[in-house]
Symmetry: C2
Subunit: 477 residues, 2 copies
């Protein structure tokens, strides 16, 4: 049995989800708070998850022809101001550098909140001819947004992300890349993180500052709140016109390029916690887990036990990320730690097991135990990890389905949001006034207009006028 003390130190999810979340990020040693308000330390257990996110996503990017680059972290104020909508969206929340060394700067620089303006400034010099297109560049970096309220991973003043920025000869090429990267994000979430997502388009109210169209993947957390998990923007030629990015096309005429950008951030670590976690702590999907298997020796001081544990590690390590916990803690405490940290499988092996030529595999998500002969361990671990990965996605999908409601009119809509938590599918007239009213009344926002539309009714759920789109609504992180 797992030791109770470590587990009892975290709040139950049902009692207080926000406190549970905070407890897990601390007790699973993912982050630490710092003297810098709104910024966190990402500790080894947290950063290792980000490294795996990077590794997986970066490989998927490169398969589609993405090349990585690095641009400066500073944006001169005059550059930030070139695209009107963009500066309006970001200026209120940037950090300003005013002094370099002992001198005041002639022009202040903001720390990048996102790098559209820098990429435009770069592309303006780098793109001359249709032969230079497309440019499909990405950077892994940190960005800063001066948020008032912050929460580890979900909203912090500095966070890590990747930002892709592309330039194309035609609107259609840009649109195709926008959708392609949204699909990469969706595949990554479902296949690697075991998080099902709704793909769709943001309303004009919710789109990115300066974008023509913003596409999004939205996921549902265990508490029924929505999390925007990745976005992909088509800028049309708006930035190109503001920055003068032109190319000589095959017909020898000068044309503006069409651009996109797309990003995914460390908030996905928050999503993993809130989709898969339980009252014993974190539960990591096998594909993203930095350690997939923790071997815990029982009565490790007895002769042969530790040797066997390391022998099993030797067998497993060519196929899986595996460790032995040979610390001098009790097995119960080790179980609790392995559970708190969300390590998918634990292998228990003690003197009796060794005598019987077997060990016990315990799944983190279901706690299901399986006795396995040593000779079958390698294959069985692979099989269980595979099953666990699949089950976690299916469980998350089932949870989302159970917490997705349909509302035909505003009474029903209000009642659901007052009594339940989840996505609500409802029709919308396309008027921002209705979004504003819904936000004022219920703190609910339009999450997306899904690609898979349904005709729930022919009237807007808010104003009753003719409906244009079915929208997913929710309370969001």
């Amino acid at each position: 049995m797992a030791d109770k003390k470590l587990v009892e130190s975290i709040t139950s999810m049902e009692e207080d989800f926000a406190q549970w979340y905070t407890d897990v990020v601390k007790k699973a040693e993912l982050i630490d708070y710092t003297s810098v308000k709104g910024c966190m330390v990402i500790k080894p257990a947290g950063y290792a998850i980000w490294e795996n996110i990077q590794k997986n996503l970066d490989a998927m990017f490169k398969e589609t022809g993405v090349q990585n680059v690095y641009l400066p972290m500073f944006i001169p104020e005059s550059l930030l101001e070139k695209e009107k909508d963009h500066v309006e969206g970001f200026a209120p929340e940037v950090a300003w550098v005013t002094h370099g060394g002992l001198n005041e700067l002639q022009e202040r620089l903001c720390v990048r909140p996102t790098s559209e303006t820098l990429f435009c400034d770069f592309y303006k010099n780098d793109i001359h001819s249709y032969r230079d297109l497309p440019k499909v560049y990405n950077q892994w970096c940190s960005v800063v947004r001066w948020e008032k309220e912050t929460r580890p991973f979900l909203r912090s003043r500095e966070f890590l992300w990747q930002e892709g920025h592309t330039a194309h000869a035609t609107f259609e090429d840009a649109e195709e890349r926008t959708i392609q990267m949204l699909n990469v994000y969706a595949d990554f979430c479902e296949k690697v993180l075991a998080i099902p997502v709704i793909k769709g388009r943001k309303t004009d109210k919710e789109k990115f500052a300066g974008a023509e169209a913003t596409y999004t993947i939205e996921s549902l957390m265990h508490d029924g709140k929505a999390l925007q998990s990745g976005t992909s923007h088509n800028f049309g030629d708006g930035f190109a016109k503001a920055f003068g990015i032109q190319f000589a096309d095959k017909d020898n005429t000068l044309k503006y390029v069409y651009q996109t950008s797309w990003g995914m951030t460390t908030r996905m670590i928050g999503a993993i916690i809130m989709v898969h976690g339980d009252d014993s702590g974190l539960v990591l999907p096998p594909r993203i887990a930095p350690t997939q298997v923790m071997i815990i020796p029982i009565q490790q001081k007895k002769e042969g036990v530790l040797d066997k544990a390391f022998e099993l590690e030797g067998i497993l390590k060519s196929n899986y990320r595996v460790k032995v916990d040979d610390s001098d803690k009790s097995p119960g405490w080790k179980f609790s730690e392995q559970e708190m940290r969300g390590i998918p499988l634990r292998v228990e092996v003690g003197p009796k097991d060794i005598e019987a030529g077997k060990c016990v595999i315990c799944r983190r998500d279901t706690r299901e135990k399986t006795e396995v002969a040593f000779g079958e361990l390698d294959a069985k671990v692979g099989e269980i990890l595979e099953t666990m990965q699949k089950d976690m996605l299916e469980r998350a999908r089932a949870h989302r389905e159970e917490h997705t409601y349909v509302a035909h009119d505003y009474d029903e809509f209000t009642k659901i949001f007052n009594e339940k938590a989840g996505f609500v599918k409802a029709m919308w007239c396309g008027d921002q006034a209705c979004e504003d009213k819904i936000k004022d009344d219920l703190s609910v926002t339009s999450r997306c207009m899904p690609f898979e539309q349904e005709q729930i009714s022919d009237k807007c759920v808010c104003c009753g006028k003719p409906a244009k789109k079915m929208v997913y609504w929710g309370r969001a992180y």
Copy 2:
């Protein structure tokens, strides 16, 4: 023959080494300049080298037990000021954030020039007992130093690096880690970058702000200037005392921890260029080259040529990083591009080769050509890459030896630095006044006191007083 136009567009090394360097970083498409003074764009060809540096170095770190983390990019002014020597060293060259969004900050924040103070602030809360030690953490990030004169990769206001920060129970453990990481850097430079280094200790004048001892690896560029290529610092318990980082030892007494830090930066890309490059451009050591083999079809429009080129790519790609240049440029132009970009091998294949069942491999460094039957290509490529990697290190070592001089007195010392460029080995009394004089007279600095000491004379090369150490002197980047 390679097309002359691309090559002629760069200045010859002998004529003007600084201009040659600038030409190569631009023409090999490693960087671009930006609207942000002193900051650069690292373009795909440059960033791919950095990705390989990261991959190799990170794996070497992890083998020694290093764990990656991420700390904030901002340091509150009061935190930076806690260690007196450290703040004196860095305050004159940091960028200050004074405003967040529309509001002035209560305390200004500097953008990290290095993160000792942040790690101390973190360790202060994270370390309680001897069981928590050692902490062996590292982060990959960018840092900012408000330099007045900048050059791509070598000195820029923002640069990429890794910074390791460790905490230990004893001075000896800290010293051991300091030397261990210096050795990792030296191995990495020699085995991966084919750059030989001198390992040694910095004088007090040249050591890191706040360090008890700074160790360094120093390399010699083609023009005879020295480049500090990696440093590893032992802080003793100085930072621990300034920040109050204590742990309960086994004997139940509270003790201060001992700390180290060590870093390597994107300036190593500059080192690769300046050690290995030639008048045709970049020459990349095979182990670090993002593309190791470029297959260039000759008369590619003739039937079967492109097919054969892609067939060879298929054969090579499981063992090497290989590409086919199937663009519509002339073969000569493609040769020049492959040479400018420093791709180690080029495979030429045309109709006559195909008929004869062979192709030609051309080495970037020596231009040596080898005819190879298709069936032997895979093995031969491996063999030549291996030889080239070894030859490049040996050539760089020979160049360094040829440009390492010995001076017994100040006349000789002055004469060498007036007439030649390279390292000078000479004795030193240990007095900073001599270092100051040498710097004033000759713009020469002490590079390091090498671990491998030699007794050149018993007198200081500058003042003639009894000598304590043999020192490598040089003009440095």
